[in-house]
């Protein structure tokens, strides 16, 4: 693979890895390649939604990360199922889930911007509060998910899950948001150099706050849909914390901020879901599943490498703006895909 191609299209790695796993599955099972893909497409959207939110937060600059997504997903799951069972309206349930995500995000945003607490700690603390409420709700929970919405989530005309199409549209909207709107441009500018953006008149605090609120809302949406698709449980969101960060970075988004790659989230999410499918197919234990997942993540990461030659050290979490960060953006295309 040509180096220049991979550098200007960082999302290729995720899709390449997904395609490779798909081919391996095809070779082992010998049939039903389309079915595998259809199943992967019905599971990947959940990871994509929460991944898109995480991507927006990560893009806001060094140190920005949302570790409250896992407890938010669990809490939103319970809240949305409870509300939809209480009101009889699936829409109200989904909105309740999104609302829960927003409330938790407001707590962490106030802590980050108002109290200058590092985002990883602020979202951790907000998440701890959310998980407490989840445990409180989980005791004696009897409501069942809305059957209508569950049917909708399982809908697969011509083998293509309806949810995947909807989330593909959401991804496209995110691309438009990042490329064409003032907000998206401001977010990328803040991520590249916060001080420069501030001097240029970008309302930095408002931009960062919006990123966290969007992430919270998207995590809430994931929780509402996931709880309807599977069932509400206290550890519904647990795996989504590590996975959401991993898919964002494998997808090509810079962890140091300033470059968002929404399409890459899809490639990496498909890679993760297909990997789970492969391990289930071969009948490996969870031990091998984790080993393979970790090994492949590290392999893809070290193979793709990060940053460019101009940078003397690895891109790391740091608050100080680095002039070198500008070199990654000379192509003028910061929202690939």
């Amino acid at each position: 693979m040509n180096l220049r191609v991979t550098r200007s299209r960082p999302w290729i790695w995720g899709f390449a890895a997904a395609a490779l796993i798909w081919l391996v599955i095809l070779a082992i099972s010998g049939q039903g390649g389309g079915q595998t893909l259809s199943l992967a497409l019905s599971l990947a959207p959940y990871l994509v939604i929460v991944g898109l939110g995480q991507m927006l937060v990560v893009t806001a600059g060094p140190g920005n990360i949302d570790v409250s997504v896992a407890p938010v997903i669990s809490l939103a799951g319970f809240a949305s199922v409870a509300v939809s069972a209480g009101t009889g309206s699936a829409l109200a349930g989904v909105l309740a889930g999104i609302g829960v995500g927003l409330v938790v995000a407001v707590v962490s945003t106030v802590a980050i911007l108002g109290l200058a607490i590092p985002p990883i700690i602020a979202t951790l603390a907000a998440g701890l509060v959310a998980s407490s409420v989840t445990l409180h709700l989980a005791g004696g929970f009897t409501a069942v998910p809305d059957p209508g919405l569950r049917e909708l989530l399982n809908l697969r005309p011509l083998g293509v899950p309806a949810l995947a199409v909807a989330i593909a549209a959401l991804t496209w909207l995110t691309v438009v948001l990042l490329r064409r709107t003032v907000y998206g441009r401001s977010l990328i500018a803040v991520g590249q150099n916060r001080r420069a953006a501030e001097r240029a008149g970008v309302p930095v605090s408002r931009v960062i706050a919006t990123a966290y609120l969007l992430s919270g809302a998207l995590a809430g949406l994931t929780g509402a849909l996931l709880a309807t698709y599977i069932a509400p449980s206290a550890d519904l969101g647990t795996r989504y914390l590590l996975d959401s960060v991993a898919v964002v970075v494998i997808g090509g988004t810079l962890i140091s901020g300033g470059r968002a790659v929404p399409v890459g989230v899809w490639g990496a999410a498909l890679f993760f879901i297909l990997l789970d499918g492969l391990v289930n197919l071969v009948g490996w234990s969870t031990a091998a599943q984790n080993l393979l997942k970790g090994g492949l993540v590290l392999f893809v990461l070290f193979l793709a490498g990060g940053g460019d030659r101009a940078r003397s050290t690895a891109p790391r979490l740091r608050r100080r703006p680095r002039p070198a960060a500008a070199t990654t953006t000379t192509t003028g295309d910061n929202s690939d895909g």
Binding site: L124, H136, S285, A287, K293, T313
Partner: protein
């Protein structure tokens, strides 16, 4: 470079540097105070042993996290790593000390290798250690699918050791923290590590290799992770790969509470110890207060936020 200059600067600058840890220490004293009014027995040697023992592995793991945060990196795999060490301890180390010891050394080497690759391939430590955490988890499940096993006798004896006159858990906490202090704040390796965190270009210009500094930092973190796992296994008496999963974020919180920063360049071994004990004590205090278990994590989150908010206020006053 604040830490490098601190010994030469008098008064205010030094105070500003140690203020965060002081705020955490105040929170710590307040919590012990609350404990002792509720349960006067807490202040006895036995009470302190009981209260402090749960914080030992967390404090040591926080030192590992502090070492990496000093070079400007972050370790999101430390929880799974500590869990893996307890599993190795409960299986290999108890059946054959030689094999077990070699495996543990291999794990430290794996950490050094991780640091090497992170540096050479210029990848963010956050995601690399995240990927590594899956590997640690997988290895742990591979060795011991369900929690169990037994710790070697000498380790169990250490866990049950109760000397007269002072609380036993204080010894490992003070010993490890003093060692890390010697290494990170006094030794030349520490200067290199902090220089890498604060200004890698200057480190390179000084003729020292940033690569070496990073590998030393990762090897140190791996070694401390192993010690933390041994301490945890000595208390639980068995191995469980997910027994320390909460450590990953708790150690980061402990370092931040102790005055560390994400941008690197600052080593706060004593601060991290205070932060770790504070966080570890929260759950003890809450169970003493008879707080319902489902409310405990909310109170824990609230205390972290309150201490950090207090720190911001103190920082404003000092400025």
């Amino acid at each position: 470079m604040a830490e490098l200059l601190a010994p030469t600067l008098p008064g205010r600058a030094r105070m500003r540097h140690s203020a965060p840890a002081a705020v955490s220490a105040l929170a710590l004293i307040a919590m012990i105070g609350v404990c002792s009014t509720l349960q006067p027995g807490v202040l006895s040697v036995q009470g302190l042993t009981l209260v402090l023992s749960a914080t030992v592995p967390l404090v040591i793991a926080a030192q590992a996290q502090m070492t990496l945060m000093a070079v400007g990196d972050i370790d999101l795999g430390i929880g799974a790593f500590v869990g893996l060490v307890t599993v190795v301890t409960a299986t290999k180390l108890s059946s054959s000390p030689l094999v077990g010891g070699l495996v543990l050394l291999g794990l430290v080497a794996a950490y050094a290798l991780l640091g090497l690759l992170i540096h050479l391939r210029r990848v963010p430590s956050l995601i690399a250690t995240l990927g590594a955490s899956f590997v640690w988890l997988g290895l742990g499940l591979f060795l011991l699918p369900t929690p169990g096993g037994s710790t070697p006798e000498w380790l169990a004896a250490f866990g049950a050791w109760q000397p007269a006159g002072f609380p036993a858990p204080l010894l490992p906490i003070l010993l490890v923290t003093a060692l890390v202090h010697l290494l990170a704040s006094r030794g030349s390796a520490g200067v290199r590590m902090r220089a890498l965190g604060s200004n890698p270009v200057a480190l390179g210009r000084a003729g020292l290799r940033p690569l070496t500094s990073r590998v030393i930092a990762y090897a140190t973190a791996g070694g401390l992770g192993v010690v933390s796992g041994l301490a945890l296994a000595s208390q639980t008496g068995g191995g469980d790969v997910s027994s320390a999963s909460s450590y990953t974020l708790m150690t980061v919180a402990a370092v931040i509470l102790g005055g560390g920063s994400f941008s690197g360049g600052v080593a706060v071994p004593w601060g991290a110890a205070v932060g770790g004990v504070t966080l570890g004590l929260v759950s003890v205090v809450l169970s003493l207060l008879d707080v319902r278990s489902d409310l405990q994590s909310a109170v824990q989150g609230g205390i972290v936020l309150a201490v950090l908010a207090g720190r911001v206020l103190v920082g404003k006053v000092l400025r």
